[in-house]
């Protein structure tokens, strides 16, 4: 029995704005609870929402990245339900007319481009966060009212790999556009996963199970696999009826999904249009302006790196993995570093170092400017490639400019002709037998002399110059 997997995703992402989406409070991650709060975030009587234009702009920007149709008219709805993390008793969201609908985006999975259809993308406000203890709970309103974008895909994803590739790609777009930091560690991304199974011959989708609040991509992967396994087993055991429409949650400890509530009596959110926010016509010119601000996105950059700079597909993929890496690479190019050389350094030395010390490239001391200084010494033959690598690590260790460290460690090559001639002459005088052997035809003795010079100069002698002088002296 061949079962087809049908996955739909809802991805929530907190937007990076100065203030919250409907109040003037700071939208900033803070460790101090209830420090970014104004009356609106706690729904004191008489407060009214004031829509943040930047949040709308960023939402439109993302909708454009997802090739959505943009709504002509901006409308916000209230989603009514009681919960202590929702001070107003309703969440302002977009139900009637989401900011973007009918989108599509291509995602690369194992070197193959797969289209993911987007049902809609809408702007809403985040809830407060709750901390539960044994016999009490604490509420932190810092998150209350933080702008949140929800992207809802069509049920068009057929594997956990595609699901995760989509989420990673989305996170990348958020970062590339600067719309969000999309930091899962700060809880800025949260996902709901819908999984159902159907037989190849079925015309209708199977019963959908929703797994809520899956907060890391690896958990998304695991939760989908778990649901596929659980549902497959039920179907194979002839217990298809036991798959019911329900909401489950992902339990990080047991690595399984656990029932939260059945959807039989599904919650009625009593949506209706918020009368406090006037309807607003979106000017097509504004949409055009926003479109022009969108930077080159990852796949576009990758194609450029391969076709224009002749990078391998693998290297290009590594570089575009994050906007920061890609920006680093592009800054190298603007400093006239050879693209291939830049790519090699980034994908090997730099990535290696960053991974080892769990650093991000934007907190990396060795900026493209410093890298260009090192490479300049190398390419002018002033230091050897081994020295370049040493210098790379010294710069990172000591956090000092490469120019200073070259002097400090006497790395600069000895290429003063007179000095080298003097050293070489002494060496030749002390090795009369070897000179004789060389002149009798034992030409491999030449490398022996080079070695001696290097030994004498502690590797600092410019090898090209050494060879030139040796040839001259031995002739």
């Amino acid at each position: 029995m061949a079962l087809k997997v049908v996955i739909g995703l809802e991805m929530h992402c907190e937007l990076k704005t100065i203030s919250k989406v409907f109040t003037k409070s700071k939208n900033d991650f803070s460790e101090v609870p209830n420090s970014n709060v104004t009356p609106g975030d706690m729904a004191f009587p008489g407060i009214l929402p004031v829509l943040n234009k930047t949040a709308v702009k960023n939402a439109i920007k993302m909708a454009l990245c997802l090739n959505c149709e943009i709504t002509e008219e901006l409308i916000f709805d209230r989603k009514n339900y009681y919960y202590p993390d929702l001070p107003k008793g309703y969440q302002i969201t977009q139900n009637t007319k989401p900011i973007g609908t009918n989108g599509v985006i291509e995602v690369e999975v194992n070197n193959e481009l797969i289209k993911v259809q987007i049902h809609d993308i809408h702007l809403e406000e985040d809830t407060a966060s709750l901390d539960h203890f044994f016999d009490y709970s604490l509420i932190d309103y810092n998150r209350s009212g933080v702008p949140l974008l929800e992207v809802v895909t069509e049920p068009c994803i057929d594997s956990p790999d595609v699901a995760v590739a989509f989420l990673e790609h989305m996170r990348n777009i958020y970062k590339y556009t600067g719309v969000s930091d999309a930091d899962t560690k700060k809880g800025q991304i949260r996902c709901d996963v819908n999984v159902s199974l159907m037989e190849e011959s079925d015309k209708e989708f199977g019963t959908k199970v929703e797994v809520k609040n899956v907060n890391s991509f690896s958990s998304v992967h695991a939760a989908i696999l778990y649901e596929i396994d659980r549902q497959t087993k039920l179907i194979e055991a002839g217990k298809k009826d036991e798959i019911i429409q329900e909401t489950r949650r992902w339990d990080e400890e047991t690595l399984s999904t656990v029932r939260m509530r059945e959807k039989v009596e599904s919650v009625d959110y009593r949506y209706y249009i918020d009368p406090n926010i006037p309807k607003f016509k979106i000017d097509p010119l504004w949409i055009k302006e926003i479109k022009d601000e969108i930077p080159a996105l990852p796949l576009e950059r990758k194609n450029l790196y391969i076709s224009k700079y002749d990078l391998s597909s693998y290297d290009a993929s590594v570089i575009i993995k994050t906007k920061e890496n890609s920006d680093y690479f592009e800054e190298c190019l603007s400093l006239k570093i050879d693209p291939k050389e830049a790519s090699n350094w980034i994908t090997s030395q730099i990535m290696g170092y960053l991974n080892k010390y769990e650093l991000e490239i934007n907190e990396f001391y060795l900026t493209p400017k410093r890298l260009s200084v090192i490479l300049d010494y190398l390419n002018k033959g002033k230091i050897s490639s081994k020295q370049a690598k040493d210098l790379f690590f010294k710069v990172l260790e000591e956090e000092k400019e490469p120019e200073i460290l070259i002097k400090k460690y006497g790395m600069e090559q000895l290429d003063n002709t007179e000095e080298l001639e003097k050293i070489i002459k002494t060496i030749l005088n002390n090795n009369e037998n070897q000179v004789k052997e060389y002149k009798e035809g034992k030409t491999n003795m030449f490398d022996y002399f080079v070695g001696q010079v290097m030994k004498e100069t502690k590797g600092k002698a410019n090898p090209i110059k050494v060879k030139e002088i040796l040839l001259k002296e031995l002739s």
């Binding site: 004191f44 009587p45 008489g46 009214l48 009514n80 001070p87 309703y90």
Partner: protein, 472 residues
């Protein structure tokens, strides 16, 4: 009136302190009328400020947020709530030096009723001790009528300012929606709620509104009104103006078994019309679909209940209000809400939840919205031809306390027509029947407040000659 008072203050014929003491004395005199929730004994007078309203005592309906002053909305839900911010209107009045003497009683959370649904008891009409004031802004109207306050700030959702103004013989003005900020007004029905003023003269209403209107960065539904000046042209002649009244509301034959009070009131209205015509104003009777008019009450009930249900979901006792006991958070919220609200409000919540339910929303709320739009369009097309609509503010003068009213009076809601479309609307005293005041109501098109106040001002002056006795 405010201008004369301002002159007296300037000429040192009186002082703010004297005015305040007089007001506080009057409050004592009317204690049994339940007009005030909170008396502001800690009032502050800014002596160095000189605006037309500076140093003048005024009252605030208790559904406005007042910094450091108890703001209960006449509900148990907020019986201990002391806000830490001022509503925009209150801030503007403060900045202009007006002195708040206290917070007045209203029908719980401004849900328009008869002025009998406050947790502190019914407000008694200063004009007659056995009669109600009407609501929702019962205390605000009574405070002005009883000469306690020179003006009052209140809210009007389906007639909440204009009805008690009519019952107590004062001016009640509900401006165009969005002319005055709602920031800090405790919401009842957001698309209906409009802050407004209760005064002794139309000109005073214009003067105060000119000071408190304006676009507010805290309220997206406000709009730029810098070009509007309500006071400037208020004395212009109105001999070329055109008004209409609706036959189906004003003709006694439209009511089954009408009461004598209704007959008297409608008769008086038609007499008033004749007086106004003497000013050169053209007044025509027009006919509207009776079925449509009969829908005004249910539509208003459906939409306001839906909005109220959602608006008041913040009242859980978790952050403010007297927190209830409970083993779980749900229990705590349920206990608080059960204890806090009157049965009238609970009834509204039930209606609201029902019409918002996803299986009912189209039949009820969305259909109500469609009919609302139909009515508004009809009125807008009339406003192309006429400067405004004139109607009796209420079908009768103030009823007695505990008087059983017939259905047609219980569901009387033509004042809400103005709230349907956000139209400017004013009630001015027009007559007295058995020494009890009644008023007429003039409503105009959106943002045409200056024109409506101009017409109201001239009519007020014409009618004042007729009203012999001052309402005491």
């Amino acid at each position: 009136m405010l201008e004369e008072l301002n002159n007296k203050l300037k000429n040192k014929e009186t002082t703010s302190e004297i005015l305040m003491q007089e007001s506080l004395e009057k409050i004592k005199e009317y204690t049994k009328h339940n007009i005030f929730v909170t008396i502001n004994n800690d009032y502050q007078i800014k002596e160095d400020l000189n605006t037309v309203i500076s140093k003048i005592p005024y009252a605030i309906s208790d559904n406005f947020s007042t910094k450091e002053i108890l703001s209960t909305a006449s509900s148990n839900a907020l019986k201990d709530y002391i806000p830490f911010f001022d509503a925009t209107v209150i801030k503007k009045l403060k900045d202009n030096g007006a002195v708040n003497i206290g917070k007045t009683t209203l029908d719980e959370f401004g849900i328009d009723a008869m002025g009998i649904n406050a947790v502190t008891g019914p407000v008694i009409n200063p004009a007659a001790k056995n009669r109600i004031t009407g609501g929702s802004a019962s205390g605000a109207a009574a405070a002005v009528s009883a000469n306690i306050a020179y003006f009052a700030i209140a809210s009007d959702s389906t007639g909440g300012i204009r009805k008690p103004a009519s019952y107590t013989g004062v001016i009640g003005y509900k401006p165009t929606y969005g002319l005055i900020s709602r920031y800090g007004l405790f919401p009842f029905a957001s698309s209906f709620d409009t802050p407004g003023v209760i005064t002794k003269t139309v000109k005073d209403a214009a003067i105060i509104t000119d000071l408190i209107k304006g676009q507010d960065e805290n309220d997206m539904t406000t709009w730029d009104s810098t070009k509007i000046n309500l006071t400037k042209d208020i004395d212009n002649e109105i001999n070329n103006k055109r008004l209409f009244y609706i036959k189906e509301i004003c003709d006694i034959n439209n009511y089954i078994n009408p009461r004598i009070e209704t007959k008297e009131t409608l008769n008086s209205f038609l007499n008033t019309i004749e007086k106004i015509k003497e000013l050169g104003v053209e007044i025509e009777e027009i006919s509207l679909d009776k079925d449509l008019l009969n829908l005004v009450y249910p539509i208003s009930l459906i939409i306001t209940s839906a909005e109220a249900t959602s608006n008041m979901s913040n009242l859980t006792g978790l952050i403010f209000g007297p927190r209830a006991e409970g083993k779980t958070i749900e229990e705590l919220m349920i206990n608080y809400r059960t204890k806090s609200f009157s049965s009238l409000i609970k009834e509204r919540f039930i209606i609201g939840s029902y019409v918002l339910n996803k299986d009912n929303i189209d039949d009820y709320l969305l259909n109500a919205g469609r009919v609302r739009a139909l009515i508004v369009n009809k009125l807008n097309s009339l406003f192309k031809k006429y400067d405004g609509m004139i109607l009796p503010s209420t079908l009768e003068y103030a009823p007695k306390i505990n008087e059983e009213l017939p259905e047609y009076l219980k569901t009387e809601q033509h004042l809400a027509l103005a709230n349907f479309g956000g139209f400017p609307s004013i009630s001015i005293p027009s007559d007295e029947i058995n020494y009890l005041p009644i008023g007429i109501n003039i409503t105009g098109k959106i943002k045409d407040d200056a024109n409506i106040l101009n017409i109201a001002n001239k009519i007020e002056k014409r009618l004042k000659k007729r009203i012999s006795k001052e309402v005491k």
